[in-house]
């Protein structure tokens, strides 16, 4: 697996700080099991937590400071070590969807698109979606951040093509149309808030597709 698209450094920092909403943190944790580069960056970023109190005496805090995050660090490293044993589904996601993508029960939401909402406790929304070859996700934007991790196949938008292990990290400045590649795709998507659909018909169908 050759990974070329990574989370933004600011996203990795938020993960290292323990301040990323849970749905987005699950996607980053999964990426870290596949990507040594990001794994090492997070290890460096975790150093910052312990240095901040000494380095920033002038910053006024509204609440009590949190301790450095050995738990996050430990879980990240454990997840990375577990990665070798897992297949297409990284360990942090396997407890939510199992380890066989083809065995996951999905609901069809439009032509060539299926999804399953995944339970998440602690902020954000998380779903697995499957796109048939060439299937299109209608134009939409976001409120807050959206992270997409490709588990199988490819998916593209105007920002580029994303392959297995890649992350598409977007904020609310981006609107896009996503197209599944010639072999289709399985992706896990984390969003802070529901997406903003451009097309009225898609907005009206929100009670059905839930997105």
């Amino acid at each position: 697996m050759t990974i070329t698209r990574h989370p933004d450094d600011s996203t990795l920092m938020s993960f290292a700080a323990g301040s990323l909403p849970a749905a987005l943190a699950a996607v980053v944790a999964a990426h870290l099991t596949l990507c040594a580069r990001c794994h090492d960056e997070v290890a460096t970023m975790e150093l910052l937590g312990g240095s901040l109190l000494d380095a920033l005496p002038g910053v006024a805090m509204a609440g009590p400071p949190q301790a450095p995050l050995p738990g996050v660090q430990r879980e990240t490293r454990l997840a990375h070590r577990r990665a070798a044993a897992s297949g297409e589904v990284p360990a942090p996601l396997a407890r939510l969807i199992g380890d066989d993508l083809d065995a996951v029960r999905l609901r069809r939401v439009s032509r060539g698109l299926w999804l399953r909402w995944l339970p998440v406790d602690g902020g954000g929304r998380l779903h697995l979606f499957k796109g048939a070859p060439g299937a299109t996700v209608s134009e939409h934007g976001h409120k807050g951040s959206e992270l997409t991790l490709v588990l199988r196949g490819t998916i593209s938008d105007h920002t580029g093509e994303y392959r297995a292990g890649d992350i598409c990290d977007l904020d609310e400045s981006i609107e896009h149309i996503q197209v599944a590649g010639p072999d289709g795709c399985f992706c896990v998507v984390a969003q802070e808030h529901p997406v903003r659909w451009r097309r009225l018909l898609v907005r009206l169908a929100r009670p059905w597709h839930g997105m």
């Binding site: 933004d8 600011s10 920092m13 910052l48 240095s51 920033l56 904020d171």
Partner: protein
């Protein structure tokens, strides 16, 4: 490079950040605020929060790389 020296360099790099970059890093690490919560707290676009954190980290990483 000794771990203590790395920590000292990180602290120095953090202390040398411009106040607006220190602020977003501190809010994320010490108050546990997400990017969106920081944006709301400071009344600025989400993209600005992310870019300030990104630039702050680039400076810290450059400091550490200079040790290697």
């Amino acid at each position: 490079v000794a771990e203590k020296e790395r920590q000292q360099r990180v602290q120095a790099a953090l202390a040398a950040l411009p106040p607006e970059q220190k602020e977003v890093v501190a809010l994320a690490y010490l108050e546990g605020l997400s990017h969106s919560e920081i944006a709301e707290r400071l009344g600025m676009p989400l993209g600005t929060v992310k870019s300030r954190m990104r630039i702050a980290y680039q400076k810290i990483r450059q400091t550490l790389e200079s040790l290697e």
